[in-house]
Symmetry: C2
Subunit: 330 residues, 2 copies
């Protein structure tokens, strides 16, 4: 089978490429070729089959059609302008996140009108589609009230995915990812950055800043779990989905205090001592509007699985990002 | 103040034009001019101020910008390809209902970028944004899972309305209309047509066909109530809306049997005897997926009001459409 990954150079995209190269199959069918696209050309993976890597902007005329020229059996659409940028540049966010997604869906529809074509389309959405009002635990039938342009664009993508699937133009599965922790890499300025950095930096002996109270609760999954969700979405029997094509992924509801206690258990007091409290009202007020937890029973029933503790999440990070070297304990 | 009505030639649009011509003001501010647009040129109303009527397709380049050239203070956006047509012609539905709406919103945004402009935008959505799964009574925080392309396009319009309002590009109010009964005019082939025709035809001494069981329950408001909702949406203080810019309108949850009993009370047995039972499995199965009732407490709190009984709805029809002539009772 042929696959296409759009957004293959991103953090999750690169891990997905590696996982697919390693396993070499989806649902038991061998992968013979990969087309890997992103706004910058993705790295070429170590993979036996054919690989095409290309730099492409999905929202430009003709790009979507050219990406699906080989009629891939599975299309992974992970590409998006991130939240902060979509908020700062309204037109660019809509052009890439809405028009780009629609161009992809329309190109698949047009290809199918020419001769039969019905790929699986895996679309990554996010829990940022949820905003006010938010109950403590959000059910699978809660309304989408995004509070950002990025969240709006993801919610619209979900609606389009459902309608194109209902019409039989492709077989879509949308997955709403939790906040990813521990994100590998360097600290960044995202409001959510500390949820990763308070664990990631101490694990390599560096200081991290905690801008909110330890009682703040949020919804998490590891990068490793996110890749597993995406792979499961590609293999899933979609009949039980009915018309609801997007599923809130399982995750771990945890407080910052629970994150820190898990860090202590895995890496000792020397690690937790590197967390410096530096309250930041702006960040605290942004985070206050975020989801605290979900009842993700649809995903559970469909076989999606996330970590059950932050100890697991931290250990996955140590295995995947730190060459399995557990830092020295205090 | 200047107003713009897009969709002014439709059933609700014409009634709205008449109501605005009669009252001559919105929120106490006199209406000085009206621009009335639709895919066919709307009729010219009996109105003291300036009136411009024009045939225009909102989805064509430049049309949206030209419609708002006079910088109307209130923009009523009622225009849409109807459900059946949007389902039959996928591309046309998205072009008019999604691209047209987006073109309007983008034109207002662009005008405001030139010099300050912040109109009230009233957008009519519909309860067809709700599909599976449906509880018996649908709350204000229930998820949008449309089962048609039309419903998808309305749901996307709601999301765009909220995001443009949040960004301060305009002051949007979306209202989800119940099924309108009694629709004036001739019988049509819409699956919902019988909800009106079983009352409308007998009131003028003609036979009507009932294709479903009397136990079927649905959610209704009269055309008169719909116009009142739209006027209230234009005058409403939007501060209490927060980020949730679209509101499920109040309505009347009633069974077909209750409709028929109301007809009997208002017009006697001679009228109800004109309803002929002719079960239609196709229509019954379409209707089976429709909402039965809503808990529209947000709308109630915001001062929107609908009829409390089908007797009222029938009397409103007799007053508004039959020159207040109560048909002869059996």
């Amino acid at each position: 089978m042929e696959i296409l990954i759009i957004g293959a150079a991103g953090m999750i995209g690169r891990k997905l490429v590696r996982a697919l190269s390693d396993r070499g199959q989806i649902g038991g069918r061998p992968i013979t070729g990969m087309v890997l696209a992103d706004i910058v050309a993705p790295e070429r993976p170590d993979f036996r089959g054919t690989v095409e890597t290309l730099a492409a902007d999905l929202s430009e005329p003709g790009v979507a059609a050219s990406l699906i020229r080989s009629r891939p059996d599975v299309v992974f659409h992970l590409a998006a302008i991130v939240s902060g940028e979509a908020e700062a540049d309204f037109d660019k966010g809509y052009r890439v996140n809405l028009d780009g997604t629609r161009a992809l869906f329309a190109a698949i529809h047009a290809a199918g009108a020419e001769r039969p074509y019905h790929p699986r389309v895996v679309f990554t959405s996010s829990i940022v589609v949820f905003g006010e009002p938010l109950p403590e635990v959000i059910s699978d039938t809660h309304c989408l009230t995004p509070l950002t342009s990025y969240g709006t664009q993801k919610a619209i993508g979900e609606l389009l995915l459902a309608d194109y699937s209902r019409k039989g133009f492709f077989d879509g599965v949308g997955i709403r990812l939790p906040t990813i922790s521990i994100r590998p890499g360097k600290p960044n300025k995202a409001a959510s950055g500390f949820f990763s950095s308070i664990l990631r930096e101490p694990l390599i002996g560096e200081e991290a800043i905690l801008p909110v109270s330890e009682s703040v609760r949020h919804w998490f999954a590891s990068p490793r779990a996110a890749v597993k969700f995406i792979l499961h979405a590609a293999e899933l029997d979609t009949a039980p989905l009915g018309q609801q094509r997007t599923i809130t992924m399982p995750g771990l509801s945890a407080t910052v205090g629970e994150q820190i206690e898990a860090l202590r258990r895995v890496a000792g007091d020397a690690a937790t001592k590197l967390i410096r409290r530096e309250p930041n009202e702006t960040i605290a007020s942004i985070i206050a509007g975020w989801p605290q937890g979900f009842d993700a029973r649809r995903a559970d029933a469909l076989g999606f699985e996330a970590e059950k503790s932050f100890d697991e999440i931290i250990r996955a990070h140590i295995e995947d990002e730190l060459e399995n070297r557990i830092p020295e304990r205090a």
